[in-house]
Every structure is written in structure tokens, then in C-alpha cells.
């Protein structure tokens, strides 16, 4: 026989409980409660806390402290500068113009700027700057090699292949083997000058130098005041013709002042004043003997 128990009670929700449940089931309201309210709370709290200037300063200071402590770790410190591929005086100059007091953090070094500074030196054609492990700031430079001397009104300059003035020369004798050139605008045609010097190798014992005339053509200056006037174009060929003449007919050993090759189809020779008069004298004598 089964016992009969009273039915379970089923209380009705109050009006407000019912409304609250419906509100909580509204999708938009739930979204607002889940996302918008926490966002607004967090944002508002952070804003309120940061509205004090002292707190902001402290935060900035703390961040800066951490930053400094990381940057000044020994792993990041640079202790010395190593310069590669430069002569002692050029490396001294580099050390002068890049004044870094070591040790220094590698975060503070602006390698690009250091490179710019080094590249600004006239004696240097290429440079690369990097920090090697072990705290070494390595500067690899390629120096400009002076190939020719250039005499100007101001003095004697060393010029490299590209026509850049590398340095002031101490004197003619200090750079014995280097050829010499003169004249305005000569530096822009160093390669042509070098070609002329190599072509004039047979004349090297007499060759004094080259002179740029009117910024357009070259003169070869020999000793005893002789000059070879070369044309604007084909200067090397003209010089080679003169050398052939000189070897074959000893032309330059004679009493010439100027060999004018400016017009290739009409080479001209100017004889010295005294030789002309001698020649005239000889012609008179020979005429007289013929008369006789």
C-alpha cells in the first residue's frame, strides 16, 4: 500500500524577480553587463588612478630606471674602439672626430651617425661601423691612396684616383715616386693624367710633369724648357707619336722648345731662338761658299 504525500509547493516568483530574470535574459543587457561594464570600470579606475601627476611621474621614472638598468648591463657595454685599415695618423683623426668616452652602452651609440662622421673625412673612401661581441666598436675603413701630386697656387696636394684631394703634401721630395701635375681643374682628369704618365714612360728621365691648360687639354713639360702640347682628344696617341719621333729621329734631343700636337694632321715644332739664328748663320755661310 502506498503512502499518499501532499503535492510539492510551487511558489510564484515575485513581480520584481520575474522582471529581473527577464532582464537578465535580454541579449543586449547581458552583453552590456559582460563587456561594457567591466571595460568602463577598468578604464575609469585606471583613469582615476592616473589623474594624479605625482603617480604618473613615478611611473615614468620607474620605467626609465628599468630601462637604464637594462642598458647598463655589462653585456651591452662598449669598452673600446678598434679601427681597421687606417694609417696611424688617419686613425688618430678618427678618434678625434668621434669623441666617445668609453665604457658606453651600445644603446646610446648611433652607428649610422658615427659612420657619417667617419665618411666625412677626405682621406677615407669607405667605412663600416659595427659592434662586435665583447664590447668592441669596430670601425673598418678604406683609405684613399694618393697617386699623384697636384701643384696649385696654394701648395702641393696629394690626389687619389678619383680626383679627391687626400691631404696636403709635405713637399716634393717627401713623395718622390709620385708624378706631378698642375693647372686648374687637373684633379678632375687624374685617370687621363695617369695614362699619359704611363705612355710617357720612355721619357721618364726627362719628364717633369703635366700641366692642364685652360681646363681642357694637357701639356707635357720636359726639362730644358721643352713642352709637348697635346690635343683635347687623343692625347695619349699624340704623345706616343711624339715618342716614336723622339726615338727614331732623336727629335727631342735637338734644340726644340715646343712640339705642338694640337692639330693631329699638322704637327708643328718650334725651334729655340738661338738655334734659329745659328741656322740662319749657317745658311749664309753655305750660300757664300756656293758663290765662291
Amino acid at each position: 500500500m502506498q503512502q499518499v504525500s501532499p503535492p510539492r509547493s510551487d511558489p510564484a516568483p515575485s513581480r520584481w524577480a520575474y522582471r529581473f530574470q527577464r532582464l537578465m535574459l535580454t541579449p543586449l543587457f547581458r552583453f552590456a553587463l559582460r563587456v561594457a561594464v567591466p571595460f568602463a570600470l577598468a578604464f575609469g579606475a585606471a583613469g582615476l588612478w592616473l589623474s594624479d601627476a605625482d603617480r604618473r611621474d613615478r611611473i615614468v621614472l620607474a620605467i626609465a630606471d628599468i630601462r637604464t638598468s637594462i642598458q647598463s648591463r655589462p653585456e651591452f657595454m662598449v669598452d673600446l674602439m678598434e679601427i681597421n685599415g687606417a694609417s696611424p695618423d688617419v686613425s688618430g683623426t678618427i678618434r678625434e672626430i668621434v669623441p666617445i668616452d668609453f665604457p658606453r652602452s651600445s644603446f646610446d651609440l648611433d652607428l649610422a651617425q658615427i659612420r657619417e662622421q667617419v665618411m666625412a673625412l677626405p682621406a677615407i673612401s669607405a667605412a663600416s661601423v659595427r659592434i662586435r661581441p665583447g664590447g668592441v666598436l669596430r670601425v673598418d675603413v678604406t683609405e684613399r691612396v694618393p697617386v699623384i701630386l697636384w701643384r696649385t697656387a696654394a701648395g702641393l696636394d696629394l690626389v687619389d684616383v678619383d680626383g679627391v684631394v687626400v691631404a696636403r703634401a709635405a713637399g716634393r721630395s717627401a713623395h718622390g715616386p709620385l708624378p706631378i701635375m698642375a693647372g686648374k681643374g687637373a684633379a678632375a682628369h687624374v685617370d687621363e693624367a695617369l695614362a699619359l704618365f704611363s705612355a710617357g714612360e720612355p721619357l721618364s728621365d726627362r719628364l717633369r710633369g703635366l700641366e692642364r691648360i685652360g681646363e681642357r687639354r694637357w701639356d707635357v713639360v720636359l726639362d730644358r724648357g721643352q713642352r709637348i702640347l697635346l690635343p683635347e682628344r687623343g692625347a695619349v696617341q699624340a704623345l706616343e707619336r711624339v715618342i716614336v719621333l723622339a726615338e727614331g729621329q732623336d727629335m727631342l734631343d735637338r734644340d726644340l722648345v715646343i712640339v705642338d700636337m694640337r692639330l693631329p694632321e699638322r704637327p708643328t715644332v718650334r725651334i729655340a731662338e738661338r738655334a734659329v739664328q745659328d741656322w740662319w748663320k749657317l745658311r749664309k755661310l753655305s750660300a757664300r761658299s756656293n758663290d765662291l
Binding site: 500500500m1 502506498q2 503512502q3 504525500s5 510551487d10 510564484a12 520575474y18 530574470q21 527577464r22 535574459l25
Partner: protein
């Protein structure tokens, strides 16, 4: 009449809006329990393109995502008698269903069983203006039905066209596009007490819900408990509820008659309570556990203990045999069924080709009821359960939920009602212009 038309149209529009939002609640306001189901519509058009009727009879477009029942308070004879109590009960059911569905419901479709439903058969006839029946002609035919005087304080809940006849061909389901001269329509109209509808509307409003439709519970339980061929061939559905017993007669898939008997399971409980001198709650439990309508020799020996807490030992330790209980219940059940029989006779049920009777509702679970009912109502009696719908919890599949499940079908596949057609254009200038056009067409 126009006011009714407008209010029903407004409800229909609200239902459409709810279906577009995808969620609607159905509420069965009964005398013994209030059930609330939350429906979610997903892809109603998926099966529309399919030919014929699928295995689920086209009921796959929705899913029950929340279900709750609560003990009814303040409802008697299927009508609201105490507004505050009923409002609280509705609130309980809706809140529990919402909690289960995890979604907020704003629209609700409600049904109730009482309020003295009365059926009227109407007919109207019009001469067609053209030769082809248009939707406008259907609306005119419906409007041509002469309205009976259904009395003050009554309200129409259903007005469904059940049959169309074109000239001499009757039994048309959809006359649109057919050729003919005269269109006749039969309409079934169901009126209920307006006060009951007003009370329900007020209760639903107090719960912050919108009423998107009302239905008679006799109709909707017939929708869910009758199978398709029963609806087609003719059958009566008897929904034995707590406070009222609804009956509806279906024919050609249309309800053609509905009525309600103001007696139900609560009266049986009341008889037990009075006869055995026990509280109503105990009587209800005894009825559901030991109730029956056919006594056997075994029942004389099965004793039921009647507990009480009056303090009187003699009173608290009584026992009663099950045969006595059946002796109390049977006359009342017989009375209900005989009243139903009288209503069916009044409706002319015996003239239908098929006289299937389906018993459903919570009261139909009394053991032996089908035997008793077949002796009173006729041979073709069966016990009906509501059809299965998606997602319905097991607890809500019993016959007591026939009207709740029927409400789901009613909400998703509403039948054409009178107010679904546009009001016919009856203004004079339009008619005279049409006449002129017609005269020209006929004479030139």
C-alpha cells in the same frame, strides 16, 4: 464586427513578428495546470519546397526549447476567476520555461477551455464578377455570410472557412483560379465569453508579455490528438481537462463544431474529497494513483490508506477499498460522458461518415475509461496522445499536454481565418467603375 476584425488582424501581425524574431511562447491556461512551451523557429521554409508531406507531417520548422508546468491557481471551469492568482501562476510557468530555454520571450499565444464556446455555421453566396475566382472574390464571399446574433458580451475567436462551392461543385478547398458563376462558402464561427478573453489579456499584460493570439483549447487539442485521416474523414476529439471537458468535431481537416462541458477532473476529485472526507490534495493523489472506472473483484481487497493529521486516531487511520473509490468516481465520469454525448447528438455527430472518437486530456488517463466511453459514446473510441514535436521533454508528452502541443501546431501552421483575407472593396465608385468596364467588355 470591424473591431473584431482589426484586433484579430493585429494579433496575427504580432504572431508574424514573433515568428520572424524566432521565439514565441504558447500558454495553456487550464483549470488544473498551466503549461508554457517556448518555441524556436529555425528555417520554416526549408520544407516548404518539398513535395507532399514529410515524415513529421511538416512539423519540423520549429523546436520546443523550454517547457514548464505549474499548478494552476485561480482558474475554474477553464475561466479565470481570480486574476492575481492566475497572473502569479502564469508568471511561474513563463519564468521556468524561460529559464530552461535561456531566452527571453515577449510574445505568447494562449488558449483556454472554458468561457462557454458556441459554434455557428454560416454560409454566404456571391455572384462572381469575372469568370475566375480571385482572392477578392473569396473575401467577398466570406463577407457575404450573414452573421447570426450571437449576443452581447461575446467575442469571436475562430472564424474559419471550411468549405467552398462553385456553382454545383462542392467540397472545394481552394477555389481560387477556378471558373464559375456563383461562389458559395461555409464558415464555422466560434464565439466565447468576451469577459474571459479580457481577463486573460489583462493577466498576460500584467506579466509584461504580449498576447499574439488566442485559441480555444478544444480546437487545438483536436489539432494535436487527431491523426490526419481522422481529421479528414470526420472525428470528435474530447479533451477531458480539469475544470472543463472540451469537444471538437473535425471534418475534411476543418473544425466544424466545438463545445465544452463545464465538468472535468476536478469534479471527480471533489466527489472523492467529499465522499471520503479527505482534503482535496489527498483526494487528487488518491485519484491519480488508484483511480478507475471499472471495478473488479480484486479491487474489493485492495485497501487504500487515508492519512490525516486531525489528531483523531480513528479518523486518521481510516482505509477505503479501491472498489469504493471507483464507486465514487464512476458516476461522475459517466455524467461527464453523457453530457458530451448530448452535445455530440445536438451537433449531429451521428450523421458523419466516420464516427471516430478520441479521448485526450489529463482526465483520459483514468484506467478503464475507454471501455466506459465506448459504452456511452459509441464503438469507435480510442485514447489519444498529442503528436510528437521536436524537443518536447518526455514529461510533456502525455495526453494532458494535448492542447499545449496543439498550440504549437496552431502557432506554426495557422489555418486560414476570415481575417486573413483583405476586407472586400465595397466602395461605390470602384464598383461602378468595375461595372462600366464589365459592360464595355460584354458589349463591345
Amino acid at each position: 464586427m470591424n473591431g473584431l476584425y482589426d484586433s484579430q488582424r493585429a494579433m496575427r501581425n504580432m504572431r508574424k513578428a514573433a515568428m520572424q524574431r524566432g521565439v514565441v511562447a504558447v500558454l495553456d491556461v487550464g483549470s488544473s495546470k498551466i503549461a508554457c512551451l517556448v518555441l524556436r523557429f529555425d528555417g520554416t521554409d526549408k520544407l516548404a519546397a518539398m513535395d507532399g508531406v514529410g515524415p513529421m507531417a511538416g512539423q519540423t520548422g520549429f523546436r520546443v526549447i523550454g517547457a514548464a508546468t505549474t499548478r494552476s491557481r485561480g482558474v475554474r471551469f477553464g475561466e479565470i476567476s481570480a486574476m492575481q492568482e492566475t497572473e502569479r501562476a502564469i508568471r511561474t510557468a513563463v519564468q521556468a520555461a524561460q529559464k530552461m530555454a535561456q531566452i527571453r520571450v515577449d510574445h505568447v499565444i494562449a488558449c483556454f477551455s472554458g468561457a462557454e464556446p458556441r459554434s455557428y455555421g454560416l454560409d454566404g453566396a456571391i455572384d462572381l464578377e469575372g469568370h475566375v475566382v480571385t482572392e477578392q472574390d473569396v473575401a467577398r464571399a466570406l463577407a457575404a455570410c450573414d452573421l447570426p446574433d450571437y449576443g452581447e458580451g461575446r467575442e469571436v475567436v475562430h472564424a474559419q472557412p471550411v468549405n467552398f462551392a462553385l456553382d454545383h461543385r462542392s467540397g472545394l478547398g481552394d477555389p481560387r483560379g477556378q471558373m464559375g458563376q456563383q461562389l458559395t462558402c461555409d464558415m464555422h464561427m466560434l464565439t466565447v465569453d468576451a469577459a474571459a478573453v479580457e481577463n486573460l489579456l489583462h493577466c498576460v499584460k500584467r506579466c509584461d508579455l504580449e498576447l499574439a493570439g488566442i485559441a480555444s483549447s478544444s480546437y487545438v487539442s483536436g489539432l494535436s490528438a487527431l491523426v490526419e485521416d481522422e481529421q479528414e474523414l470526420g472525428a470528435a476529439c474530447i479533451d477531458m481537462g480539469g475544470g472543463a471537458t472540451g469537444l471538437s468535431i473535425f471534418m475534411k481537416k476543418h473544425m466544424i463544431y466545438a463545445d465544452a462541458v463545464r465538468m472535468g477532473g476536478e469534479h471527480v476529485t471533489g466527489d472523492i474529497s467529499m465522499g471520503l472526507q479527505v482534503p482535496t490534495a489527498t483526494a487528487e493523489r488518491i485519484k491519480t494513483f488508484y483511480g478507475g472506472v471499472v471495478a473488479t473483484g480484486m479491487d474489493d481487497r485492495e485497501m487504500i490508506e487515508l492519512e490525516g493529521d486531525t489528531g483523531d486516531w480513528e479518523h486518521d487511520r481510516r482505509t477505503v477499498s479501491r472498489a469504493e473509490l471507483i464507486g465514487i468516481m464512476r458516476p461522475r465520469v459517466e455524467e461527464i460522458l453523457e453530457e458530451v454525448r448530448a452535445r455530440l447528438d445536438a451537433a449531429g455527430f451521428e450523421y458523419l461518415p466516420s464516427q471516430q472518437i478520441v479521448l485526450t486530456g489529463g482526465g483520459s488517463q483514468i484506467p478503464g475509461l475507454d471501455g466506459l466511453a465506448s459504452r456511452i459514446l459509441g464503438q469507435q473510441v480510442r485514447l489519444g496522445r498529442p503528436m510528437r514535436v521536436h524537443g518536447l521533454p518526455q514529461a510533456a508528452t502525455g495526453p494532458g499536454f494535448a492542447s499545449a502541443v496543439g498550440m504549437c501546431l496552431f502557432a506554426t501552421h495557422p489555418q486560414d481565418e476570415w481575417w486573413d483575407f483583405d476586407l472586400p472593396v465595397e466602395r461605390y465608385p470602384v464598383r461602378s467603375l468595375r461595372r462600366a468596364v464589365r459592360w464595355f467588355r460584354d458589349n463591345w
